[in-house]
């Protein structure tokens, strides 16, 4: 403690160490939050089309849907934003789990976390061959709670019971 530089260095390093401890505690406090989110998707229209790409036949689904969710309980004081995406999941003979993302969004604050939107699928719902004909699928809403500091939490809600049409247009 005998010089300016020595004392300035001591203040800097000790203050940064304490800042790291505070951020760790803030992240740990997120574990005390027990969220109760809800989500519901209503399909307004579901149309199966066939295209081909380099002699591969591809089935494309275009869908219009109402997505409603209440994700307000996910937010804590240490939450920067919540990334949410809707995925379709189905089973094929070749693979037991196929997942494809249909829509995503970023929720910047708690006020925006309770929403109802009418949208078409943002990303193409597409598969090779005739896998999608009459296929039963789940719509799963996934979310990532991104913190201001510390651990990111991810979870999902599975909504089963959707089915693709047998015939294509």
């Amino acid at each position: 403690m005998h010089s300016y530089g020595y004392r300035a260095n001591a203040v800097l390093t000790f203050s940064l160490t304490l800042l790291a401890v505070m951020c760790a505690m803030a992240s740990l406090s997120d574990n005390r939050n027990s969220p109760s989110p809800s989500a519901h998707v209503q399909l307004r229209s579901l149309i199966l089309n066939v295209t081909s790409f380099h002699r591969l036949s591809l089935y494309v689904v275009s869908m219009a849907m109402n997505i409603s969710a209440d994700l307000q309980s996910l937010f804590t004081w240490n939450t920067k934003q919540v990334f949410v995406f809707l995925a379709a999941e189905y089973r094929t003979p070749k693979h037991s789990l196929n997942q494809i993302s249909l829509w995503d969004g970023i929720i910047p604050s708690k006020e925006h976390a309770k929403f109802w939107i009418h949208t078409s699928n943002k990303y193409r719902f597409i598969d090779q061959g005739s896998n999608l004909r009459g296929k039963e699928f789940n719509l799963t809403m996934h979310w990532h709670v991104m913190p201001k500091t510390g651990k990111m939490f991810a979870d999902k809600i599975v909504m089963p019971g959707y089915r693709l049409p047998e015939e294509y247009r």
């Binding site: 300016y4 004392r7 203040v11 304490l18 505070m22 803030a26 004081w77």
Partner: protein, 93 residues
């Protein structure tokens, strides 16, 4: 700064920073505002720096008692003796 002052500076710095960290975290948690925690802590760090880094007079209340110059002349520094310049010859095997 004298020795007591240095000890005081170190203790003051540690206690101030620790208290501000505790106060900042508690306020941020209660007010559910991460920004409030950071602002309070930043203010605390600046205050601590202003109080402990510069050489304030209250850090120099127990100054070191240096020997008076007239006293120094009465007691000359001891000179090195002639024996020290002799070197031991290395033993060859």
């Amino acid at each position: 700064m004298d020795w007591q002052g240095q000890k005081l500076a170190e203790q003051l710095m540690q206690i101030m920073l620790l208290s501000f960290a505790v106060i900042a975290f508690a306020s941020g948690y209660v007010m559910a505002s991460f920004q409030m925690m950071i602002l309070i802590y930043a203010a605390g760090v600046v205050l601590t720096t202003l109080l402990t880094v510069p050489n304030w007079p209250f850090f120099n209340r127990h100054p070191l008692t240096w020997l008076d110059p007239s006293e120094v002349e009465k007691h000359p520094k001891p000179q090195p003796s002639a024996n020290v310049t002799q070197k031991k010859k290395p033993v060859k095997k």
